[in-house]
Symmetry: C2
Subunit: 426 residues, 2 copies
C-alpha cells in the first residue's frame, strides 16, 4: 500500500471511528505523527439518535457524517474504509481487507454489537439497533405492520400486527417504546380508514426489576410512570424466553406480535479475543491509562473494555467513549514527547432518556429531574454533540417541524433489493 506514512514520525493506527476513535483522531490534529484511521463504514454514526431513524423521524444522513469530511483538513491522517481481520500485537501489525498496516501505537475502539444470549436465530425476528441498516429495517417493519393491519380482515391477525414488543428497557428500549406510542397516538391518527392506530399495543419487557436499570431509582420510577401515561405496557422482572415469527414468550406466556425490537444484550467487538484477557461479558481488561498490560503501546476504549471506577465497571455509553478517546489522545501525545501516560478517570455529567414527545428523565448521580425541562436539556445536549452545522440544523428543524405537526419526516418503506423485478409493474 502506498501510504503517506513518514518514517520519522510515529505511526498510529486507530481502528473504529465511533465516539472514542474519532475523538482520538481529532485531538491528534497537531500531533507529529502519521495516523491511519480504519472503519468498516464511511461515516461516523451518532448512535444516541439512531432510534429516531428507526421511528421514521430522521433520515440516516441526518445523524451520520462522512469520516473523510470530518478529517479532511487534517493532513497527518489517512482514512481507510476497511475491516480489520487480525491483529498481530507482537509484530505491531494489523491485517484486513485493506492489506496490512504496521504501527507504533494502536488504538482499538470497535464498540459492541447485539447479543441474543446464544439464540442467534432470534435476530431475524427481532432486529437490534446499532447500525443504519438495522434502523431502516425496523422502520420498514413498523410501517409495514400498519399497512398490513389496514388490509387485514382477521381481527386476531390485525391485533398481532398492531402489537409491538421492545425487549430491554435501557435508554434505547425506553426511547423506542415511547416513540412507538407517539406514532400510534399522534402521527398516524388520521391516516388509516380501517384501523385505529391509537389502539396499538406497545410492550416494553425488562428482565431487571426496573426500567433504566443504570439510572437512580427515582429516575426509573418516573420513567415508568411516564411510559405508562403514554400507553406503554411496562413489564419488569420479565424474561423473554423465545422469539419467533409469531411473537415472543415472556416468562411462560406467549404474546402474539408481528414486530419485535431487540434492545437488550450487547457483546463487545470480536476483536477483543486478540487483545487479551476479558471479563465474563467479553470486555477486555485495560490498565488505568487505558492501555493493555501486555502491550502498553495498544490502547482500547469504549464499549469493549472493562474499566472499573469506584469499584464498578463503566457502562457502554457515548460520553464514556468520548472521554476515553480524548484521554488516549493525550496519552499518545505524552508518549510522542517521551512523557508518561496518565490515568483515566470518567467525569460523569449524567445520563438521560426521552419518553415520547415532550418528556425525559435526566439523572446526574443521585440527583435527577424529569418532564419538559429535562426534555429541553436532552434536546440541547444532543444537538450540541451532533457533528456538523448542517446536521445540527437539520435535526433541530425536523424536531420543531415534528413537534408542531405531529408528523414523521422520514416515513418511507424502502426495499432491500434495487433491481427491477420481472413482474415490477404487473
Amino acid at each position: 500500500m502506498t501510504m503517506n506514512q513518514n518514517k520519522k514520525v510515529p505511526k498510529i493506527v486507530i481502528v473504529g471511528a465511533g465516539f472514542a476513535g474519532l475523538n482520538v483522531a481529532k485531538k491528534l490534529r497537531k500531533a507529529k505523527a502519521s495516523i491511519t484511521i480504519i472503519d468498516k463504514r464511511n461515516y461516523h454514526l451518532f448512535q444516541p439518535l439512531l432510534y429516531q431513524v428507526a421511528m421514521a423521524g430522521l433520515s440516516p444522513a441526518d445523524i451520520a457524517y462522512p469520516i473523510r469530511s470530518v478529517l479532511s483538513g487534517q493532513k497527518n491522517i489517512n482514512v481507510v474504509l476497511g475491516e480489520v481481520k487480525n491483529i498481530e500485537m507482537d509484530k505491531k501489525t494489523i491485517h484486513g481487507d485493506f492489506g496490512k498496516f504496521e504501527y507504533d501505537y494502536l488504538v482499538v475502539a470497535t464498540g459492541s454489537e447485539h447479543s441474543y444470549f446464544g439464540q442467534q436465530d432470534w435476530e431475524q425476528h427481532a432486529p437490534g439497533l446499532k447500525t443504519i441498516e438495522q434502523a431502516t429495517e425496523i422502520r420498514r417493519r413498523v410501517l409495514s405492520a400498519y399497512e398490513k393491519a389496514e388490509q387485514e380482515t382477521d381481527i386476531e391477525k390485525q391485533k398481532a400486527l398492531l402489537t409491538f414488543v421492545v425487549v430491554g428497557a435501557g435508554a434505547t428500549g425506553v426511547e423506542l417504546a415511547g416513540a412507538l406510542c407517539e406514532i400510534a397516538r399522534f402521527s398516524f391518527k388520521k391516516d388509516f380508514r380501517n384501523i385505529d392506530p391509537s389502539k396499538s399495543t406497545v410492550v416494553l419487557v425488562e428482565a431487571g426489576e426496573r426500567v433504566l436499570p443504570g439510572y437512580n431509582v427515582k429516575s426509573s420510577i418516573q420513567a415508568e410512570k411516564d411510559l405508562k401515561k403514554l400507553g406503554v405496557k411496562v413489564m419488569t422482572s420479565s424474561r423473554v424466553n423465545k422469539v419467533s415469527e409469531e411473537g415472543v414468550v415472556i416468562g411462560t406466556d406467549f404474546l402474539k406480535a408481528s414486530t419485535v425490537i431487540w434492545a437488550a444484550g450487547v457483546k463487545p467487538s470480536a476483536l477483543n479475543k486478540m487483545l487479551g484477557p476479558t471479563d465474563p461479558q467479553g470486555r477486555v481488561f485495560v490498565e488505568k491509562d487505558l492501555s493493555l498490560k501486555s502491550h502498553p503501546e495498544v490502547f482500547v476504549a469504549g464499549d469493549q473494555i472493562h474499566f472499573e471506577q469506584k469499584g464498578k465497571a463503566l457502562v457502554g455509553q457515548a460520553p464514556v467513549a468520548m472521554q476515553q478517546g480524548l484521554h488516549i489522545a493525550s496519552n499518545l501525545l505524552n508518549l510522542i514527547k517521551g512523557k508518561k501516560t496518565t490515568k483515566f478517570s470518567y467525569f460523569d455529567k449524567g445520563q438521560m432518556a426521552t419518553i415520547g414527545r415532550s418528556r425525559a428523565v435526566v439523572n446526574i448521580g443521585k440527583f435527577s429531574f424529569h418532564g419538559f425541562a429535562a426534555w429541553l436539556v436532552w434536546l440541547v445536549v444532543h444537538i450540541y454533540y451532533l457533528i456538523g452545522f448542517k446536521n445540527k440544523f437539520f435535526v433541530m428543524y425536523q424536531w420543531i417541524w415534528s413537534y408542531a405537526t405531529y408528523k414523521k419526516g422520514a416515513r418511507l418503506i424502502v426495499k432491500k433489493d434495487w433491481r427491477q423485478e420481472p413482474t415490477a409493474s404487473i
Copy 2:
C-alpha cells in the same frame, strides 16, 4: 376486504400515486365518490430530483412524501399499499396482493421502468434511476469506487475505478454527468490522500446526434458546451453495445469503467398489456379524453400512453403526467355529474436540465436560455413542485449549504443487509 366504499356513490380506483395518479386523487378532493388509490410504495416520489439522491446530495425522505399523509384529510379516499396483478376490464375488477376491488371508473398511471433493449443482464452492471433503491445503489457504487481507488495500487485498476459512464443524454443523463463531475472536482477535493478525484473521467454516451434530444438544437449545443467545460467527455452518435462488470463497449471500443449508470431506454408499465393496443414502444393508445376506446370508463395517463399532439407523441415527463392527472380528474367529475368528457391538450411550459452546480438550460418551445439565470429558474420550479413545506425547506436549505460548502449532505455507503455478520467485527 372491508372498504368504506359507499354503495350509492361511484367507485373510483386509481392505480399509481405518481405525478398523474396523485393529481387525480387530489383534484377529486370534494368528489362524491368512493376512491381507492393503490401504489406499490407508501410514498410519492419526486423523480426529477432523484439524481441528487444518487449523487449523495439529498436524502430519500427529502424527495419522497407518504401518500397517506398527502391524502390524510381527504375522507373520500382509501390508500392501499399493494401491487396490481390483473385487470379484468369486462368485470370492472382489479386484482392484486391486496385482494380485489371493483370499480365504476379506473385510472391507471403506473409509469415506466428501464429497458435494456432486451439485454436484461446489463442491469446488474448499470443500475437505472427510477426508484429510491436504485438511487441509493448508484450512490453506494459511486462512493465505493472512490474508496476502492484510494486503496488501489495498480494504476490501471485505479483508472477504471475513477471512470464513470452515463448511458443516455436525456435530462437525467445530463444531470447525472454534471453532478459526477462536480463531486470529482469540488466535493471530494481535500478528502483523499492517494488519489486526486479531479482526475476522474466522466463519460456521457448518447446514441442520438445531440445531448438533450427532446430540447431545441440551441439548448442541446449549449448543454454540450457546458458539460465539456465541466470536464464531461460527451460522446454523441455513439451506441453502447455491451455492458459488463469490466466496463462498456461503445461502438466497437471497449472502455474500462467500474461504474456505469443507465439513463437510456424506458419501457412502459407491464400493465399496458391488459389495457389494449400499444405502439411499438409498448405505450397504450388512448382517446383524446385519455380514456380507452374499448372501455371509456378506464383512463390512462403518464409515461405509459401514446397521446399525439401536433402530430407527435408526448414524451414521458412530470409536467405531462401532472396535467393529464388533473384532466382525468375533471373528466371524472364531469362523468359523475352526467356530463361529457373533454379533450386533453398539453400546455407546454417548457423543460429544463441542470448542468453542474450553477448552470442549467431552459427550453420553452423555440425559445431557450441558459447559465446562472436558467439555474435559478430550475431551482425555483423544482422547489415549487415538491410536496410539503418540510421537504421544500429541506431541499432548499441543503442546496444553499452544498453551494456554500461544496459538500454533499448524504454521503453514506449503506449496506443492503441489516443482519449482523458472524464476522461483524473481526
